[in-house]
């Protein structure tokens, strides 16, 4: 049985290989007939018909990082909840209490974040 659990992943790898080959092969075949004229302007980035005056990769607003960090925190929390949810029926009352404690901590953190204004975009 344990064997078949792992074997169940084989089709996924096959699928992955096919999904990978599909664009590669198509791109390669199409290369034989598709036109290619290039040119300096064509290889330059689009900015509404104006030559961009600076590199696009500059500083980003700090909020993106804040949100990313918050995401990591909360997403890990949900991952913890998955196994709990599956055996919830067995855990019964103990499970409920445990989850309430867990979520309680989460909610406290969440409220704190909102109070701090970390989620206010403006």
């Amino acid at each position: 049985m344990g064997n078949s659990v792992l074997l169940a992943y084989i089709p996924i790898f096959i699928f992955m290989a096919i999904a990978f080959l599909f664009p590669i092969v198509t791109l390669f075949v199409a290369k034989l007939i598709r036109p290619n004229s290039g040119g300096e302007a064509k290889l330059s980035p689009y900015e509404c018909g104006v030559d961009p005056d600076s590199d696009a990769r500059q500083r980003y607003a700090i909020r993106y990082y804040v949100v990313a960090i918050l995401f990591v925190i909360f997403d890990v929390e949900t991952v913890f909840l998955f196994p709990w949810a599956i055996i919830y029926k067995q855990l019964a009352f103990f499970g409920l209490m445990e989850m309430l404690v867990f979520l309680g901590i989460l909610i406290v953190g969440y409220v704190w974040i909102i109070k701090k204004g970390a989620l206010d975009w403006a």
Binding site: P11, T26, P35, D55
Partner: protein, 361 residues
């Protein structure tokens, strides 16, 4: 590896993958036509009519054209990442389908002997799915969030301002709705007690009701987050045409651009399929436990599944034709400050109810 294992885990999946891959490409292609047609009808016009009867060959023409369009890799771009990004987006969008059950385990293959080799092949039963992982749901969530990486990388690698803005929007949007999405399905998990998608559908059969009736809030949250995760209207900010020209794929041309498109439409189908599987009873006919409606069972399961998926795809198009899009900060606010509290509350309420009702049984 013996022959049976080979057939079970390589040969049969390979055949199914072949069929699924072909079908999926076709469905995605025709989903674009469906979109153009349906939105056209909503806007009192006809939509594509000239390429094939009633425009039926339009997706084929578009596909060939895009394939043979010049492939531009901007000189200032990060070339390796730029070329890989669409592929990174596409692969997850496809391989998610490996675990989605389109129908029950009901395909019977009679045993036979391969003539000449004198090898006995045993009788076996297989299902309308490629593989049934015991952590199917987790797999779907994990793999489908990889797709967004391709979008972020593509936008970043272009080294152009509009794509970069699109990529940043996409990243922030993805992370904001992923959490609520995770919470929204927790109720289903509690009731089904399994992560296998096949088992979740079976659990709905046993429960006698599709989970949407037990988890209406969860379903609505799931679908909203799903629409947001697929970057579709009214959450289509990463490619908001009137704001960011073409968003993250502004610098992409031809086939690479179409890969992003394929992935987006595949993701729409994934979200619809997941909504159907988790909440709308998967391949089950309506009222699966009412014998009086047994004639509905004459329609094969995968057709019920397809029909339900189509309904959700229609919703997608309907949204696009009717609603304006949110602004960036509003979108974030909805994700974090509206959907998330509701989702957490839903988890707690469900937990209490499951315990209460389950305990009294």
């Amino acid at each position: 590896m013996n022959l049976d294992s080979f057939i079970d885990w390589i040969l049969l999946p390979l055949i199914k993958i072949g069929i699924l891959f072909g079908l999926l490409s076709l469905v995605i292609a025709y989903l674009t036509l469906l979109e153009r047609k349906i939105i056209a009808f909503m806007q009192v016009r006809l939509g594509p009519m000239r390429v094939g009867p009633h425009g039926l060959l339009q997706p084929i023409a578009d596909g060939i054209k895009l394939m043979l369009k010049e492939d531009i890799v901007p000189s200032r771009a990060d070339k390796i990442v730029f070329t890989l990004a669409p592929v990174i987006t596409l692969i997850p969008a496809f391989i998610v389908f490996a675990v989605i059950p389109f129908g029950p385990r009901s395909i019977h293959i009679p045993g036979f002997t391969i003539p000449g080799l004198n090898v006995q092949v045993a009788e076996r039963t297989t299902g309308f799915f490629i593989t049934d992982l015991n952590i199917g749901l987790l797999y779907v969530l994990a793999v489908s969030s990889i797709g967004i990486l391709g979008i972020i990388l593509g936008g970043w690698a272009s080294n152009s301002k509009y794509p970069l803005l699109g990529a940043l929007r996409s990243a922030a949007q993805m992370v904001s709705y992923e959490v609520a999405l995770g919470f929204s399905i927790m109720g289903v998990l509690m009731m089904a007690g399994t992560l296998s998608l096949v088992e979740i559908v079976n659990a709905q059969k046993n429960a006698g009701a599709w989970y949407v009736f037990l988890q209406p809030v969860g379903f609505i949250l799931f679908f909203i987050c799903g629409v947001a995760e697929t970057n579709r209207a009214p959450f289509d900010l990463p490619e908001a045409e009137s704001e960011l020209v073409a968003g993250f794929h502004t610098e992409y041309s031809g086939f690479r651009f179409s890969l992003f498109f394929l992935a987006e439409y595949a993701a729409m189908i994934v979200v619809s399929s997941m909504a159907v599987t988790l909440f709308w009873g998967g391949w089950l006919r309506p009222f699966p436990n009412i014998a009086a409606l047994g004639f509905l069972g004459l329609v094969p399961g995968f057709l019920w599944f397809a029909l339900k998926v189509l309904v959700f795809l229609y919703f997608y198009l309907w949204f696009r034709a009717s609603w304006p899009r949110y602004r960036y900060d509003q979108l974030m606010k909805i994700g974090w400050q509206v959907l998330m509290p509701i989702a957490i509350a839903n988890v707690i309420v469900t937990a209490v109810l499951v315990l209460w009702l389950g305990g009294s049984r």
